[in-house]
Amino acid sequence: MIEYRIDRRSGVSTYLQIVQQTKQALRLGLLEPGDKLPTAREVVEATAINPNTVLKAYRELEREGLAEGRRGLGTFITKGLGHSPPADSALRAELADWAARARGAGLDKDDAAALCASVLDDCFKNSKGDEDR
C-alpha cells in the first residue's frame, strides 16, 4: 500500500502530488496492477488534506487508464508504468555523454540541469503528461 507525502510548500497542487507519487510508485514497481490504493478516508486521516482532493486525484488516475474504482471495494491499479529504461540503456549512455560534454564546455551542474529542463519543456510541451498546468 502506498503512503502519500504532501508537501504544502512545493507549489505543486495537492491532487497532482498524489497523481505523481502514484505514477512514481508504478514506475519503481512499488505498485502493480491489482494493488488497491488507500481509501480517501485513510489518506486524509494521515495527511489532513481535503477528501475531495484525494477523489480528484483518483479520478485523474482513472481518466489516464491507470486505476479503476470498483463500487464498494475501493480504487485499484489496472496498469503498470514500466517504460522507464534500465540504468544501462542506450538513452542513458547518450545522456551521460552529453553531460560530460556539457561539463567540458564549462557548464556547472545547475546550468546543465536548467538546460535539460528547458529542452524537456519544449519537447514535451504538447503532450499532456504529468505536468497539467
Binding site: V44, E45, A46
Partner: protein, 300 residues
C-alpha cells in the same frame, strides 16, 4: 435531498441598539453540503458572530439564516458547534463529559468515535476537565461535537491552542469523518495557512460582510497577478496595484483573456486574501454555487 448546508439572506447582527456598529451586515451567501469551508477574515470581522447565528445561539437582528433547509433551532441536533472558548463543565471527568454527550444525543451518539479522539491525545478518561490544558480541552470539545455525528460542524478557531502534532491529528480525524459521512465543515481562523490544505471552500468575512465566497480553486483562478510596464488594465477589475518607476504589479480579477505586455501568474491564496484585505473597496465575488437561491433563507 437538501444540498444546502447554510444559506443566509440579508443577514445582520448588531449587539447593541445604541451602538451603531454592526457585527455583521447584509450578509447573503450559500454553502453547499459536503464542503470543507474556511471562514477567514481579520480579528473582529464577524466570523464568530456568523457561526453563532448558524448554530442558533444568536438571533439575527435582520435577515434570515437557514441550516440544512431548516431554522438553526430545528437543525440543532444535526449541528456540531465548538465555540472559541470551548465551553465544558469543569467538574466533570472526560468520561462523564462523553456520557453527557450520549445522554443529550440519544440515537445519534457514537461513543467509540468520541473515545477514539480522546485516546489519540493520550488523555486519561477519569481526569477532570478542570485540570486539562487548553489544547486538551479542545480535543475533548471536538470529541463531544464529533461524537454527535453531526451533518454540519461549525468550529470557531478550532486549532488555535493546539500544538502542531495535535493540530495535524485532529484535522486528519475531522477530514476522515468528512470523507466517511459527507459531513460539511466550517472552520474559522485568522491564520489561513492552517486551513489551506484542508479546505475546498472559502468565505472571506471582512468588516461584517462576505467579500469572497465559493470554491477556493475557482476564486483563485478568477484572479491573475500581473507584472510589467505601466499600462491601462481595463477591462479587468483591479484589486490592488503598485507602481515603482515604470514597473507595475497588479492583482486583477479577469474580464476575458489578458492581452498586454505583462507577465502573468496565478496568485497564491494568501496573496489573494491579503490583497482584498488591503483594498476594502474591491468588489465582492461570489461564485455561482455560493449565491443564495431563495429570497428568504427559511420559510417561517
Amino acid at each position: 435531498m437538501n444540498d444546502t448546508a447554510i444559506e443566509t439572506v440579508g443577514l445582520g447582527k448588531r449587539y447593541s441598539r445604541k451602538r451603531s456598529s454592526w457585527a455583521l451586515r447584509d450578509c447573503s451567501f450559500r454553502l453547499p453540503t459536503g464542503r470543507i469551508c474556511a471562514l477567514v477574515g481579520p480579528n473582529g470581522a464577524g466570523k464568530s458572530t456568523l457561526l453563532a447565528l448558524a448554530a442558533g445561539l444568536l438571533r439575527p437582528t435582520e435577515g434570515t439564516v437557514s441550516v440544512l433547509g431548516r431554522t438553526p433551532g430545528e437543525a440543532r441536533e444535526l449541528i456540531g458547534y465548538v465555540a472559541q472558548d470551548k465551553p465544558l463543565i469543569p467538574q466533570l471527568s472526560i468520561a462523564d463529559t462523553l456520557r453527557m454527550g450520549q445522554e443529550l444525543n440519544p440515537g445519534r451518539w457514537d461513543m467509540a468515535a468520541a473515545e477514539r479522539i480522546v485516546a489519540e491525545g493520550k488523555l486519561d478518561p477519569s481526569e477532570r476537565v478542570r485540570s486539562l490544558s487548553g489544547g486538551q480541552r479542545t480535543r475533548v470539545a471536538l470529541a463531544l461535537a464529533l461524537g454527535k455525528r453531526p451533518e454540519l460542524m461549525l468550529l470557531d478557531e478550532p486549532m488555535a491552542d493546539l500544538d502542531p502534532l495535535a493540530r495535524h491529528q485532529l484535522m486528519g480525524t475531522l477530514m476522515a469523518e468528512a470523507a466517511e459521512n459527507g459531513t460539511t465543515v466550517v472552520m474559522s481562523s485568522h491564520v489561513l495557512t492552517e486551513l489551506e490544505g484542508s479546505c475546498d471552500y472559502l468565505l472571506l468575512v471582512d468588516g461584517g460582510r462576505v467579500r469572497l465566497g465559493g470554491e477556493t480553486e475557482d476564486i483563485v483562478a478568477a484572479h491573475t497577478l500581473l507584472t510589467g510596464p505601466v499600462a491601462d488594465l481595463a477591462p479587468h477589475t483591479v484589486i490592488e496595484q503598485r507602481t515603482a518607476g515604470r514597473g507595475l504589479t497588479a492583482l486583477v480579477r479577469r474580464d476575458g483573456p489578458i492581452e498586454g505586455p505583462w507577465e502573468t501568474a496565478e496568485p497564491s491564496l494568501e496573496e489573494l486574501l491579503l490583497a482584498h484585505l488591503r483594498s476594502p473597496d474591491a468588489p465582492d465575488l461570489l461564485t455561482p454555487s455560493a449565491e443564495h437561491r431563495t429570497d428568504t433563507a427559511v420559510r417561517a
